[in-house]
């Protein structure tokens, strides 16, 4: 819980990069009040720090001058605002109807086997995390997998294998 965190000197120093600060100012200009920038600012914090630690949420609250409770309430409502670290490659498998009908269960099992992790887990090397997600709105191209920002459509077991090989051999992918 945000309010219960004991802040060491170092943690209090958590700050946005100058790029992110610039972006934050730009975001604030888009809305008539600061609270409306909470979700964009939390997206920014996820991009900066990988996930929303209590300190990161506190930073957003301080920079926007809104209550911590509000930031915590919003952050915990939305699935994309990670409250735990995810892998360098965050793999999301759509498990909803259209993808189910085209074999997403098999792809999910294949990914679990190859990565040695279940949904909601991260590989020990921090490279991959896996999640079963709800409809990604790409049903005509089912089954669909999202890796970080990118959609991979019309997936097959062979394409999943090739994708994993490619991600393994090309570290440093964009978050």
């Amino acid at each position: 819980m945000v309010g219960l965190v004991e802040y060491g000197g170092e943690r209090m120093n958590l700050a946005f990069s100058s790029d992110a600060e610039r972006r934050l100012q730009e975001l604030l200009g888009r809305y008539p009040n600061r609270q409306a920038a909470v979700i964009p600012a939390l997206h920014l914090a996820v991009r900066e720090f990988g996930y929303l630690s209590p300190e990161a949420m506190d930073l957003v609250a301080r920079r926007l001058e809104v209550p911590q409770s509000l930031v915590l309430g919003t952050a915990t409502f939305y699935t994309m605002l990670h409250k735990r670290p995810v892998g360098r490659y965050h793999i999301q498998v759509c498990m909803n109807v259209a993808c189910y009908l085209k074999g997403s269960d098999n792809l999910a099992n294949q990914l679990k086997d190859r990565l040695g992790i279940g949904f909601g887990e991260v590989t020990p090397d921090g490279m991959f995390s896996l999640e079963g997600v709800q409809c990604l709105a790409a049903c005509g191209m089912a089954p669909v997998i999202q890796v970080n920002k990118d959609y991979h459509e019309d997936m097959t077991p062979a394409k999943v294998d090739a994708l994993l090989d490619q991600l393994r051999s090309a570290p440093g992918g964009e978050k």
Binding site: A36, G73, T79, M80, L81, A98, Y100, L101, A137, M141
Partner: protein
């Protein structure tokens, strides 16, 4: 009639709504080559009231699922409220089966944006927010690049095409919550809060975003507004039905040979969509069921497919047009497994505000799951229907009904499959249940 192939098939002929293939992007230059901004020029030469009257005359029903006439909705704005007015575009596409709005963001954002500018002029809004679902990173980048083109070309900003009317358009990225597609939850979300739907009234047209009068429209609705202004209300009506005007984007997914987006007139034959455009079912297997308008719409049996895809046509078959997103499944598919995916979805996406939905969707999920896993008990079918009926109509927003409708319809339409599951303690189709 246009086909929008989603896999690398033949190049599509261009339609009114689907103007390009999935490997193309229509930038401002191309948009103008295709006659873009002619509609906007016409609108700006008219009074805002005249634009609204034309949209009303075209019988454009909202393309977000509810089908409320757009022109009528605009008319709900109070005339004497001194507060600013907002235009909000709902691009929080998330209803399972639906993937049409992403096309406009990703391939043809100017078709959407031209509709946005026309609508802002018609309702007197100087600020528009486009709320896009968070997972759409690339579509958001493309939409933002298109908005930048409009600013750079002087189409929007301090003036609109030189007319003394200032307009800003801002993209707001969602963060992963289906409920934010509900219009009042969407407003809460823009305001920085959890997406919990508001009690109505007051309706957003009176008290909406930041407490100000607000109009919320779907992406495809905006593309429709552009067509109405470009071709006129009569021509738009002629592209559809008298009470349900215009062309429509239809989504097709599941067990069909050619899934994807197709354009046709409002009132397109469902069979034509599945068998002609979609090429029929995979391996030509018989159809077991069709979900006609997204996962919240009642499932249809093979003998109910002789219908037209428009709001009244699908309603007559006991279901809804919804987002016109057709999901087909063939014989050999277990309806219990399909319903489980739907029940899980609504349980996951309930915002937790209303007890019947928060607890009820969990119950529905657990009962369907126990049947799927072979632990079903006699009486579970009636229990499901009873639980669903206690959600229906008892919640602030439509998510409760959206969760209840598919449960009731699946159990009613496929009761024998559910009873067999319960009796055998296993899937009659030999499915191995998946835990995940």
């Amino acid at each position: 009639m246009t086909m929008f192939p989603t896999t690398s098939q033949t190049s599509p002929t261009r339609g009114y709504l689907l103007r390009c293939g999935n490997d193309e992007f229509i930038d401002l230059k191309r948009h103008r080559e295709l006659g873009g901004h002619a509609a906007l020029r016409k609108a700006l030469a008219m009074t805002p009231d005249a634009v609204r009257e034309q949209v009303k005359a075209a019988n454009l029903r909202g393309r977000g699922g509810a089908g409320f006439p757009a022109g009528t909705k605009w008319g709900f704005l109070p005339k004497d409220n001194p507060k600013p007015r907002y235009l909000v575009i709902n691009a929080d596409e998330g209803e399972p089966g639906t993937f049409k709005d992403r096309y406009f963001l990703d391939h043809d954002p100017h078709a959407l944006l031209e509709g946005v500018i026309i609508t802002a002029w018609a309702i007197g809004a100087h600020q528009a927010y486009i709320y896009v679902r968070g997972e759409f990173f690339r579509p958001i980048e493309r939409l933002e690049s298109a908005i930048k083109e409009l600013y750079d070309a002087g189409v929007i900003g301090k003036t609109v095409m030189g007319k003394p009317f200032d307009l800003d358009i801002v993209v707001h990225q969602g963060a992963g919550a289906y409920i934010c597609g509900e219009e009042s939850a969407l407003l809460e979300s823009i305001e920085g809060k959890p997406g919990r739907p508001r009690m109505k009234p007051p309706f957003p047209a009176v008290v909406g975003l930041f407490g100000c009068p607000t109009i919320i429209n779907n992406v495809e609705t905006m593309a429709g507004v552009r067509l109405i202004l470009e071709h006129g209300a009569d021509a738009f009506l002629a592209m559809g039905l008298p009470k349900d005007g215009g062309p429509k984007v239809f989504g097709l997914s599941g067990h069909v040979k050619r899934p994807g987006l197709y354009e046709g007139p409002m009132g397109l034959s469902l069979k034509k969509l599945i068998f002609e455009y979609g090429g029929g079912t995979i391996d030509d297997k018989p159809i077991k069921g069709v979900i006609p308008g997204g996962s919240s719409t009642a499932v249809l049996l093979p003998d109910q497919l002789d219908i037209t895809m428009d709001f009244e046509g699908v309603k007559a078959a006991g279901s809804s047009l919804g987002t016109a997103s057709v999901m087909v499944f063939t014989e050999g598919t277990c309806p219990v497994a399909v319903l489980l995916r739907i029940a899980r979805f609504y349980a996951h996406e309930s915002c937790g505000q209303c007890t019947p939905c928060r607890d009820g969707t969990g119950w529905l999920e657990r009962i369907v799951e126990s049947i799927e896993f072979g632990h079903g008990r006699p009486g579970d079918c009636d229990l499901l229907i009873s639980a669903a009926n206690q959600i229906m109509g008892n919640t602030i927003c439509a998510l409760g009904d959206a969760a209840a409708i598919p449960v009731i319809s699946f159990v009613q339409q496929f009761r024998q499959d559910f009873e067999d599951h319960i009796r055998l303690g296993a899937c009659p189709y030999g499915n191995k249940p998946e835990g995940h």
